[in-house]
C-alpha cells in the first residue's frame, strides 16, 4: 500500500437514520491524506455521527466509507486503522496511564511496548505520571493521555470528537496549538469535530460546516469566512450583515443591485445565487470590512466603493475595536467593527454616518433563506438527535 493516499478518507453517499430521524443526510466528503480537517457545527447537526461512522462506531444507513483504497464500511472498529480521541476521554479507570496508552498495542499483539509507551508519554509531557490512575490526573492531563493512547497506534486517520470542550480557555488555546503541531510533525490525517468556529479556523486546513445533517459549505477557513455561500455559514462563522437587494443590471464581471435608494456592486464570482434581472439577492458584508465616515465628511469617500447611509444606534468600546450598531433605511442593525487606531469623537449614538466598503469584499447569496440561520438561539435551525442510540 502506498503512503500517498492511504490516509485519504472518502465518504460516498453516507447517511444515518434512526427510525424517522435523519441524523445525517446522504453526503460526500473527501479528506486528503495528511490534512487537518474540521467538521464544524452546532449541537445536533450530525457532525459527531459522521465521525463515528468513520470510526466504525455507527453503521451507516447508506453509502460507503473508504480509507485510501480500502472499503471499510462494514468493518468493525477494531479492524480499522483509525483511532478516536473521545469527548470525555474514555480513559480506562481500572488501568494506569501506562496500560491505557499501551492498550491498543497490546491488543494487536505487540510484545514489548515499554519503549514506545515511554516515548509517547514524553511526547505529551506525561512521563512522570505513567503509573497513576486516570482519576488522579487533571482534565488537561487526561486529555493528553487520550491523544497519546490514540496516536501510539500510528492510525491512518485520527478522529477527535470535541476533545477540548471540557478544558478552560487558556488550556484549550494551548492544546489547539499542541495538536496542530503534532499533526504537522506526524503527517497523519486529523478529522476534528467541534462547535467552536474559532477552534476550527485556527487548526484546520479544511473546514466543513454542517447543519441539520447536511454539509452547508466546505473549504479553507479563509474561503468560508470571506465567501460564505449560505446564510447559515455567514452567520455561524463570525458575524455578517445581510442586506436584501434586487438585481438591477450587469456591469462586466460585476452585478449591480438596488438597495433602497442606492446601488451596490457585487463581483459575479462572489455571488452564489442565480442573478436574474429583477431577482432578489442577499448582499453580505462583514462588519470589519466596513469603514465608517461621519456624514459631514461624505465627500472624502473614494469613488467605486459601495455605500449606505445610516444613523448610529449604539457604540460599544471593546478595547481592540469599537462595535457600532447602525440603523439604515436599507437594513436594521447593521454591525460595524472599527479597529481602534484613530477615534473620531463625532461617532456617537445619534450621529449620521456613511458606511462604505470595497465591492471586492461583498458576497451574495440566495435571498430565499432564513436571515437568522446560524445565529445563536436561531429558531430556524433543525436540531437532530445525534445520540439517538
Amino acid at each position: 500500500m502506498t503512503t500517498d493516499n492511504s490516509g485519504d478518507v472518502r465518504l460516498s453517499g453516507i447517511s444515518k437514520t434512526y427510525g424517522s430521524f435523519t441524523a445525517v443526510h446522504p453526503l460526500d466528503l473527501t479528506v486528503p491524506q495528511g490534512s487537518f480537517f474540521a467538521l464544524l457545527g452546532a449541537s445536533g447537526c450530525g457532525k459527531t455521527t459522521t465521525l463515528r461512522m468513520i470510526a466504525g462506531l455507527e453503521e451507516p444507513s447508506s453509502g460507503t466509507v473508504h480509507l485510501g483504497d480500502q472499503d471499510v464500511t462494514h468493518l468493525p472498529p477494531y479492524k480499522r486503522p483509525v483511532n478516536t480521541v473521545f469527548q470525555s476521554y474514555a480513559l480506562f479507570p481500572h488501568l494506569d496511564i501506562f496500560e491505557n496508552v499501551a492498550f491498543g498495542l497490546r491488543r494487536r499483539g505487540v510484545k514489548s511496548v515499554k519503549k514506545q509507551v515511554e516515548e509517547m508519554l514524553e511526547l505529551v509531557q506525561l512521563g512522570e505520571q505513567a503509573r497513576k490512575k486516570p482519576h488522579q490526573l487533571s482534565g488537561g492531563q487526561q486529555q493528553r493521555v487520550a491523544v497519546a493512547r490514540a496516536l501510539i497506534n500510528h492510525p491512518k486517520v485520527l478522529l477527535l470528537d470535541e476533545p477540548l470542550g471540557a478544558l478552560d480557555l487558556k488550556l484549550r488555546r494551548q492544546m489547539q496549538l499542541e495538536l496542530k503541531r503534532i499533526q504537522t510533525e506526524v503527517g497523519i490525517t486529523f478529522v476534528h469535530v467541534t462547535h467552536d468556529q474559532e477552534e476550527a479556523m485556527t487548526m484546520a486546513d479544511t473546514v466543513a460546516v454542517m447543519n441539520a445533517g447536511r454539509v452547508e459549505q466546505l473549504g479553507a477557513p479563509s474561503d468560508l469566512y470571506e465567501n460564505p455561500r449560505t446564510t447559515f455559514v455567514a452567520n455561524f462563522l463570525g458575524t455578517s450583515n445581510l442586506i436584501e437587494a434586487e438585481v438591477d443590471t450587469r456591469n462586466g464581471d460585476d452585478i449591480v443591485l438596488k438597495a433602497g435608494d442606492g446601488r451596490l456592486v457585487l463581483p459575479q464570482a462572489r455571488c452564489s445565487a442565480p442573478a436574474t434581472a429583477g431577482g432578489k439577492v442577499l448582499v453580505g458584508i462583514r462588519p470589519e470590512k466596513i469603514a465608517l465616515t461621519h456624514a459631514d465628511d461624505a465627500g472624502s469617500i473614494p469613488e467605486g466603493r459601495n455605500r449606505l447611509t445610516g444613523r448610529i444606534a449604539d457604540a460599544s468600546f471593546i478595547g481592540v475595536s469599537t462595535q457600532y450598531v447602525i440603523d439604515s433605511p436599507v437594513c436594521d442593525d447593521l454591525a460595524v467593527y472599527v479597529q481602534n487606531v484613530e477615534r473620531d469623537g463625532r461617532l456617537v449614538p445619534g450621529a449620521e454616518v456613511v458606511l462604505h466598503w470595497s465591492p471586492a469584499h461583498t458576497f451574495g447569496m440566495d435571498a430565499a433563506q432564513s436571515l437568522v440561520a446560524g445565529t445563536v438561539g436561531s429558531a430556524g435551525v433543525e436540531t437532530v438527535e445525534e445520540e439517538a442510540a
Binding site: 470510526a55 466504525g56 462506531l57 468493525p76 472498529p77 477494531y78 479492524k79 483509525v82 483511532n83 478516536t84 473521545f86 470525555s88 474514555a90 480513559l91 480506562f92 479507570p93 481500572h94 492498550f103 491498543g104 491488543r107 494487536r108 490512575k133 482519576h135 488522579q136 490526573l137 487533571s138 492531563q141 493512547r149 490514540a150 497506534n153
Partner: protein, 266 residues
C-alpha cells in the same frame, strides 16, 4: 444552647442512632450470652460468665455438620446465582429487547414474594416431580431466590459505567471478547462481588424456604430452629458472634480498600 433547641436540631441524629441501637441490640445480646453458662436447656437467662462454649465450639452434636452444609450450599448457590444473575443484568443494561417489562417483573417478584409462598409452591413442584428432597432441592431453591438480588447489584454497577469505555476499547483494536474481558468485566467486578456477597449471606441465612424443601437434611438455620424447641446450646451464640465479627471485618476491609483507591484523587 437551650435543651429544646438542641433536641430539635439533633432529632434526626438521635432518632437514627436509636434505630441503630435497636438493630444492634440483639447482636450484642448474642455476643454477651455466648459467654453464659445456662442452668437448663435454654440460654435465655444470664447465669454466670464462662468461656466454655468458646473453647468447644463444635461440642454440640450435629451443629458443625449443619454449619458446614450451610456453607457448602451457600458457596454453590452463590456461584450459580452470580453467573446467571450477572448475565441477566448485562442483558438488561446493554441491550434492547422485547418483553422488557415482563422480564423486570419476573425478576422483581421473588424479592417481594413472602418466603412461605415460594417455599410451599416449590415443595409442591418437587413432590409432583417425585424429586428427592435434600441438598439438590435446597440448592435449586437458593439459586432461585438469590438470582434477583444479584441482578439488582450488578445492574446498578453496570448502569453507572460509561458506555464510551467499551467503544474506546473497540476503537483500540479489542474484539468483542477482548473488550469484555479487559474492560467490561474488570469495571463491573465490584458490582458482581457485591451481588455474590449478598447471595452468600441470603443463602446461608435462609430458613423458611430451606425448611420446606430440605426433607431430612439439616442446615444451620434449621438446626437453630430445632434447638428453639429442644434446647439452645451456647455454641449457637458463639457461631453467631463469630459470623458477625467475620462479616464486619470483611466489609470494613473492603471499604478501606475502596476508600484508599478513591481518595487518591488529583
Amino acid at each position: 444552647m437551650p435543651f429544646v433547641t438542641w433536641l430539635k436540631r439533633h432529632l434526626v441524629v438521635i432518632g437514627g442512632l436509636f434505630t441503630l441501637a435497636y438493630l444492634l441490640l440483639p447482636n450484642i445480646v448474642v455476643t454477651v450470652f455466648s459467654f453464659n453458662k445456662p442452668k437448663g436447656r435454654f440460654n435465655y437467662e444470664w447465669q454466670q460468665f464462662s468461656t466454655a462454649a468458646w473453647k468447644d465450639p463444635c461440642g454440640v452434636a450435629d451443629m458443625c455438620g449443619s454449619l458446614s452444609l450451610s456453607l457448602q450450599i451457600a458457596f454453590w448457590a452463590t456461584v450459580g446465582a452470580t453467573l446467571l444473575g450477572t448475565m441477566i443484568a448485562f442483558a438488561l443494561v446493554r441491550y434492547r429487547f422485547r418483553a422488557r417489562s415482563a422480564v423486570n417483573s419476573l425478576i422483581f417478584l421473588p424479592m417481594a414474594m413472602p418466603e412461605v409462598v415460594m417455599a410451599a409452591s416449590l415443595l409442591t413442584l418437587f413432590l409432583n416431580m417425585g424429586a428427592q428432597l435434600g441438598f439438590w432441592t435446597i440448592l435449586i431453591a437458593h439459586i432461585m431466590f438469590c438470582l434477583s438480588f444479584v441482578v439488582v447489584a450488578v445492574k446498578a454497577r453496570v448502569m453507572s459505567m460509561d458506555p464510551r469505555l467499551e467503544e474506546a476499547a473497540r476503537d483500540l483494536y479489542a474484539g468483542p471478547v477482548q473488550t469484555f474481558l479487559r474492560v467490561t468485566l474488570p469495571i463491573a467486578a465490584p458490582g458482581i462481588a457485591a451481588g455474590a456477597l449478598l447471595s452468600f449471606a441470603l443463602s446461608f441465612d435462609d430458613f423458611i424456604i430451606t425448611n420446606f424443601n430440605a426433607g431430612s437434611t439439616v442446615t444451620f438455620p434449621m438446626f437453630v430452629w430445632g434447638s428453639a424447641q429442644r434446647g439452645t446450646p451456647v455454641q449457637i451464640n458463639v457461631i453467631g458472634t463469630a459470623m458477625f465479627l467475620v462479616a464486619v471485618l470483611f466489609v470494613l476491609v473492603s471499604m478501606l480498600i475502596t476508600n484508599r483507591r478513591n481518595s487518591q484523587k488529583a
